[in-house]
C-alpha cells in the first residue's frame, strides 16, 4: 500500500515536479485505493483508469522531455459528475442522463486537462445536486469515511468522501447553497465556494444558474488554493464569469497571518439551533484567532431569517426552467409509453421515469413560483430578500474583513434520518445559503470533533472578489488548529477497512 495517498496535494506536486515520483505511479496508487475502499464508500459513479493513466503517462513523458509543466501537472483529481467530460459519462446523479457521454468538455475540465491533471473519475451527488446527503442520487448514496452509517453531506458527498477516504488528493465540487461546504463540514475536509463568476460554469449541468458555482474540494487550505488557481478565470463562454483575475489564492494561503484582521461573528448564525459541541468548537476557533492578533467583532444580518425561504423559491424556479431540456428529444433517456407515442406523452413518460422525487418536488415548486399571478408574491419577493441579504453583508463587511459562523448546525446525521422531512433536510444549509444568494465567496474548514467523533467546522465568508482573504485566514486558522492537535484533522479519521 502506497503511503503517497495520505500526503497533501502541495507535497505531491513538489515530488512530481522534482521527478521523485511519476504521475503514473501516483495515479495508480489512487486507483488502487479506490479498488480497495470504494465498494464501501461509493464516492464514484464512474472510474476511468485508462483515461487517467494515459493522461498521467503523457505528463511523465513531457516532463522527461524537459517540457515546462504546470505546477500541478501529474496530480490526479476527481470531478463531480455534473461537469461534462467527453471521455466519461456525465449523469448528474440522474437516471435521465444514464450513459450520456457529452460532446464537449466543461471549461473547468478543459483547464484541468490543460494543467496536466489526470481525471480519476466522476463523483457521486444528489440528483442534479438537489440534496444534502447524496441520498437523492439515483445511483445510491456515498458514505461518510468517518462513519459509514452516516451521510457524507450533499450534494457533493462524492467529492468530499473521495478526498476524505484518500481516493484522490483533490476534487472538484459545485455549490448552489452549500454543496461544497456542507460536505466538507461533515467529512473533516476543506471546500471553497468562490465568488460567483470566479470559475466558469460552462459545462456545469445547471441547477440554479444564478446560485451555482464550481469550486475546489481538498484536505487542507493550501491545496484548495492551488486548485482554485487552476480553475478560476474569465471564460467567454460564460457571460456571468468575471472579466478580471482575483489574484493568487496560493500566495494568500502562504501568508499565515491574521494580525489586525477584523473577524465578524454573525449573530444570527449561532446559539439556538446549533449543536452545543459545534458552537464549542466554533468558540475555540475564535479564541485561536483572537490570540493570533485578530479582532473579533459581532455583526448582525437580520434578513438571514428569510434566506432559506427565498432560496427555496429562487432555486426551484430556475431549476424548473433549466431542467425543461430533459425531454428525450436530443439526448438521454427516452421512455415510450403504451398507446400513441405523441411527443407530449413521450416527454411526460420520460420525465416521470427519469426524474427522482426531490427533483420532481422542486420542479413543481418552481413552476408554481413562476406562475402568472404568483410571480410577484414568490419569485419577485424572493429576489427582494436577496437584495436585503446583500445589504446585510455590505453592512457587515463595513465592520469586518471576514465573517465567520459554524458551517452547519449539526454534525453528520445517519442515513434515512431526514429523508422523509424535506424541511429538516433544507435546514442543514442555513449557514451556507446566504453566500450563494449574495454571490460572495465562502470556505468551510474543519475545527475539531464532537463527542461522537464526527467532524465539526467553521465557515469563513468574504466580500465578492475577495476570495484571497478566505485563503489567508483559513490557512492561518488551520495551522493554529494543527499546532494544537499536533496533526492534521484528517488524521483523526478512523482507518477504513481495506478490501484486497
Amino acid at each position: 500500500m502506497s503511503e503517497l495517498i495520505y500526503k497533501n496535494a502541495s507535497e505531491l506536486a513538489q515530488l512530481l515536479s522534482k521527478g521523485e515520483i511519476s504521475s503514473v505511479e501516483l495515479t495508480q496508487a489512487h486507483l488502487d485505493r479506490t479498488a480497495q475502499v470504494d465498494g464501501a464508500v461509493h464516492s464514484y459513479l464512474h472510474v476511468g483508469p485508462e483515461a487517467a493513466l494515459a493522461a498521467a503517462a503523457d505528463v511523465d513523458r513531457r516532463r522527461a522531455s524537459g517540457e515546462k509543466l504546470h505546477e500541478l501537472a501529474g496530480l490526479p483529481i476527481a470531478v463531480k459528475d455534473n461537469l461534462t467530460t467527453t471521455d466519461a459519462p456525465t449523469t448528474s446523479g440522474s437516471k435521465i442522463l444514464e450513459g450520456w457521454i457529452p460532446q464537449y468538455d466543461s471549461t473547468v475540465v478543459k483547464k484541468l486537462r490543460a494543467a496536466g491533471m489526470p481525471i480519476l473519475g466522476k463523483t457521486n451527488l444528489d440528483e442534479f445536486a438537489m440534496g444534502s446527503s447524496t441520498e437523492f442520487s439515483a445511483y445510491g448514496p456515498s458514505k461518510n469515511p468517518w462513519d459509514l452509517e452516516r451521510i457524507p453531506g450533499g450534494s457533493g458527498g462524492g467529492s468530499s468522501s473521495v478526498v476524505a477516504s484518500f481516493q484522490a488528493p483533490l476534487a472538484i465540487g459545485s455549490d448552489t447553497g452549500g454543496s461544497i461546504r456542507y460536505p466538507a463540514f461533515v467529512t473533516g475536509t476543506v471546500g471553497t465556494k468562490p465568488t460567483y463568476g470566479a470559475v466558469s460554469r460552462y459545462g456545469l449541468i445547471a441547477l440554479a444558474s444564478s446560485l451555482d458555482q464550481v469550486g475546489p474540494v481538498s484536505r487542507n487550505v493550501l491545496d484548495a488554493a492551488l486548485l482554485q488557481d487552476v480553475i478560476a478565470g474569465h471564460d467567454p463562454h460564460d457571460s456571468t464569469s468575471l472579466p478580471e483575475s482575483l489574484g493568487s489564492m496560493t500566495e494568500a494561503a502562504k501568508k499565515l497571518d491574521v494580525k489586525g484582521m477584523r473577524i465578524g461573528v454573525i449573530k444570527q448564525l449561532s446559539g439556538d439551533g446549533f449543536q452545543p459541541e459545534v458552537s464549542a468548537r466554533f468558540n475555540e476557533s475564535l479564541e485561536l484567532l483572537k490570540n493570533a492578533g485578530a479582532e473579533i467583532v459581532e455583526v448582525s444580518c437580520p434578513s438571514f431569517e428569510y434566506a432559506i425561504a427565498a432560496y427555496y423559491l429562487i432555486l426551484p424556479a430556475e431549476a424548473s426552467s433549466n431542467l425543461a431540456k430533459f425531454d428525450s428529444v436530443r439526448f438521454g433517456l427516452r421512455v415510450t409509453p403504451d398507446g400513441a407515442p405523441t411527443i407530449e406523452r413521450v416527454m411526460a413518460a420520460t420525465r416521470e421515469a427519469g426524474f427522482g422525487p426531490e427533483v420532481k418536488r422542486r420542479i413543481i415548486l418552481g413552476t408554481y413560483a413562476l406562475s402568472s399571478g404568483y410571480y410577484d408574491a414568490y419569485y419577485g419577493a424572493a429576489q427582494k430578500v436577496r437584495t436585503l441579504i446583500q445589504r446585510d453583508f455590505d453592512a457587515a463587511f463595513a465592520k469586518a474583513d471576514v465573517l465567520v459562523s459554524p458551517t452547519a448546525p449539526a454534525t453528520a446525521f445517519k442515513f434515512g434520518e431526514k429523508l422523509e422531512d424535506p424541511l429538516a433536510m433544507y435546514l442543514n444549509d442555513i449557514a451556507t445559503i446566504p453566500a450563494n444568494l449574495a454571490g460572495i465567496p465562502g470556505m468551510a474548514i474543519p475545527n475539531g470533533m464532537a463527542e461522537n467523533k464526527m467532524p465539526s467546522g467553521i465557515q469563513l465568508l468574504a466580500p465578492a472578489r475577495e476570495d484571497a482573504r478566505l485563503y489567508q485566514v483559513g490557512a492561518a486558522l488551520e495551522k493554529m488548529h494543527e499546532d494544537v492537535w499536533g496533526k492534521r484533522m484528517i488524521d483523526f479519521a478512523p482507518a477504513l477497512e481495506v478490501k484486497n
Binding site: P102, I205, I343, Y379
Partner: protein, 500 residues
C-alpha cells in the same frame, strides 16, 4: 366561415371600428447565431449548423452576439425608439420539440428598444402614424417537418423531424401599439406597414428581408368594437401570413368574419388563427388567452445588455437616409409624376428601381418593367414582385436591349421568362436562344415579298396614301418571322418599295 356568411365589407365598417395590431419578426442576417458561433445560413443540410449551445445540451450556456445587438439597436433607432440602457433577456418557458431548451431566450419587460413610431402611406395617398410599442431581441426555434400525413401538418403524421439549423437564429420582434382610425384602409395599412418595415431593415442591411424565406414574418391582430365604444373588442391573432398580399387579405377577411359573428351576437374567441392563402380564409388555431402562462423570468445565464451612449450615437449617425427624405429625393431625381411615384412606393419597388437606374436603365423604363410586366408575373405566381429571382441590374440590361433596338417589347417579355427561369442574364438569353430582332434587309425583303404575293393591292394603297394598308403586311411578316422582325424597318422597306 363560408364566403357568403361573411359580412359585406362596407357594411362591417359602418357598424364597427377596426383596431389592428401588428407583430413583425425580422430575422437578422448576422454571420452567426444569437447565442453561439454557429453559422446563420438558410438552406444548409439539416442539423449541420448546430452546437451544444443551440441544441441545448446540458451544461451549455449562451453568450450574446454583439452584432445582433447592434442590428437590433439600428432597427430601434430607425423606428424612432428609445434604446434601453439596461436591456435584459428573459426566459419564455414552454415545451415544444423545436425549442431545444424548452424555453426561448427572449426579452420581456426590458426590451432593447421601445416607444417609437413609423409614418406609413397607403395606396390612396393617406398617411398614418403607427406607434411602435417595442422592438425586442429573441432567438428563433428549429424547424419541424411532419412526415407521413396527407397534410404535412402534425395531425395524422407518422413522425416528425426536427432541424435545429434555425434554432438560435437572431430575431427582432417589432410590436405596434393598437392602431386606430384606419377604417376601411386597415388592411392596406397593415400591408403597407410591413412593407415599410421590410424597406427599413433592408436599407439598414440587417436582414435579407425575404418574406418567402421567413426573414420577415407577420402576425396580425384584429379586433372590432361598435363605433363609440371605448372598450376594445376581443382580438384574434392571425399567423402564417407570408406575403404582403396575404396580410391585406387576411385582415380584410377577419374584419368581415368578426363582424358577421358580432352581428349575430356571437362572441369572438381570443385565439390564434391560421391564414390559408388558397382558400382565402383563416381557420381557428389554438385558443390564446392572456393567461397563457410562459412563466417569464430574467435569464440568469446572461448579463444585461448595456449599450453605451457613445455606441448608440455612433449607430444613429450611421443610419441611412430616412425613408421619407429618400422618397422626396429619388422622386425628384427620377422625374416621376406623383401618381407614378405613389405606384412605385406602394409596390415597394424603390430599391429595385434604384438598383436598375444605377445599373444604367432610364428611370421610366425601369419603372415600366417593375410595375408592369414583372408585377403581372409576380401576381400570377401569388408572389410579391421583390421576391422574384431577378436583380435590378438584369432589368436594366433588359430595358437597354429594348432601347437599343436589339429586341422589341414582345421579345423582351419572352426573354424575361427565361431570365426568371435562371437561364442567365437577358443578353445571355438573347444570344443563347437567338431572340434578337431581325433587321437584316435581305431576310425582311424576302418575307415582305412573300406577304405581298398574297396581298398584291397593298403597294397601290400605300401609293395612294392609305398607310393603314401596310399593317396587314407588317402583321404577316411578323407572323412569318415569329415576332422577331423589326417592325419599324419593315414599314420603311414597304414605303421604299411602293415609291420605287
Amino acid at each position: 366561415m363560408a364566403k357568403d356568411e361573411l359580412m359585406n365589407y362596407e357594411k362591417a365598417l359602418e357598424q364597427f371600428e377596426v383596431v389592428i395590431g401588428l407583430e413583425v419578426h425580422v430575422e437578422l442576417n448576422t454571420n452567426t447565431k444569437m447565442f453561439c458561433g454557429c453559422r446563420n445560413e438558410f438552406g444548409d443540410e439539416p442539423n449541420t449548423n448546430v452546437c451544444p449551445i443551440c441544441i441545448g445540451l446540458p451544461g451549455s450556456l449562451p453568450a450574446v452576439n454583439k452584432r445582433a445587438v447592434e442590428s437590433s439597436i439600428k432597427i430601434g433607432l430607425a423606428l424612432g425608439c428609445d434604446i434601453a440602457p439596461n436591456g435584459r433577456f428573459a426566459r419564455k418557458n414552454y415545451f415544444y420539440p423545436d425549442l431545444a431548451k424548452n424555453f426561448q431566450t427572449s426579452q420581456y419587460d426590458e426590451p432593447i428598444a421601445f416607444e417609437g413610431s413609423l409614418e406609413v402611406e397607403v395606396p390612396s395617398g393617406n398617411t398614418f402614424t403607427v406607434q411602435i410599442e417595442r422592438a425586442h431581441m429573441e432567438e428563433d426555434a428549429g424547424k419541424l417537418t411532419h412526415v407521413g400525413g396527407s397534410t404535412g401538418r402534425i395531425q395524422g403524421a407518422e413522425y416528425s423531424l426536427v432541424d435545429y439549423n434555425r434554432a438560435g437564429v437572431p430575431l427582432v420582434e417589432i410590436v405596434t401599439k393598437p392602431v386606430y382610425g384606419a377604417g376601411a384602409e386597415a388592411p392596406e395599412l397593415a400591408a403597407a406597414y410591413v412593407r415599410s418595415i421590410r424597406e427599413i431593415v433592408k436599407g439598414l442591411g440587417v436582414s435579407d428581408a425575404k418574406m418567402e424565406r421567413g426573414n420577415v414574418r407577420c402576425d396580425a391582430n384584429v379586433s372590432l368594437r361598435p363605433h363609440g365604444q371605448e372598450k376594445l373588442g376581443t382580438r384574434t391573432e392571425t399567423k402564417n401570413v407570408n406575403s404582403l398580399r396575404s396580410i391585406e387579405r387576411a385582415v380584410r377577411y377577419e374584419i368581415q368574419r368578426q363582424a358577421a359573428l358580432l352581428a349575430k351576437g356571437t362572441a369572438i374567441i381570443q385565439e390564434t388563427r391560421h391564414w390559408h392563402e388558397d382558400k382565402g380564409a383563416t381557420s381557428s388555431g389554438r385558443p390564446k388567452s392572456d393567461a397563457d402562462d410562459y412563466r417569464y423570468f430574467p435569464e440568469p445565464d446572461l448579463v444585461p445588455v448595456q449599450p453605451s451612449k457613445e455606441w448608440i450615437e455612433e449607430l444613429r449617425a450611421g443610419l441611412p437616409e430616412k425613408p421619407a427624405d429618400r422618397r422626396k429625393r429619388v422622386q425628384a431625381e427620377w422625374g416621376f409624376a406623383d401618381l407614378e411615384f405613389r405606384d412605385v412606393v406602394n409596390a415597394g419597388l424603390m430599391d429595385q428601381i434604384e438598383e436598375s437606374v444605377s445599373a444604367g436603365a432610364k428611370p421610366q423604363a425601369a419603372r415600366k418593367w417593375w410595375t408592369g410586366e414583372l408585377a403581372r408575373i409576380a401576381n400570377s405566381q401569388d408572389k410579391d414582385v421583390i421576391d422574384l429571382e431577378i436583380s435590378g441590374a438584369y432589368v436594366a440590361e433588359l430595358a437597354n436591349l429594348v432601347e437599343a433596338g436589339k429586341i422589341n417589347d414582345r421579345l423582351a417579355r419572352e426573354v424575361l421568362t427565361y431570365v426568371l427561369d435562371g437561364e442567365g442574364s437577358p443578353a445571355e438569353v438573347v444570344a443563347k436562344r437567338g431572340l434578337e430582332v431581325v433587321s437584316d434587309d435581305g431576310a425582311l425583303i424576302a418575307a415582305i415579298e412573300a406577304a405581298l404575293a398574297k396581298q398584291p393591292d397593298v403597294l397601290d394603297a400605300i401609293r395612294e396614301g392609305r398607310m393603314q394598308a401596310a399593317g396587314a403586311v407588317i402583321g404577316a411578316v411578323m407572323q412569318a418571322m415569329k415576332g422577331s422582325a423589326d417592325a419599324g424597318r419593315v414599314r420603311e422597306l414597304l414605303i421604299e418599295m411602293a415609291n420605287k
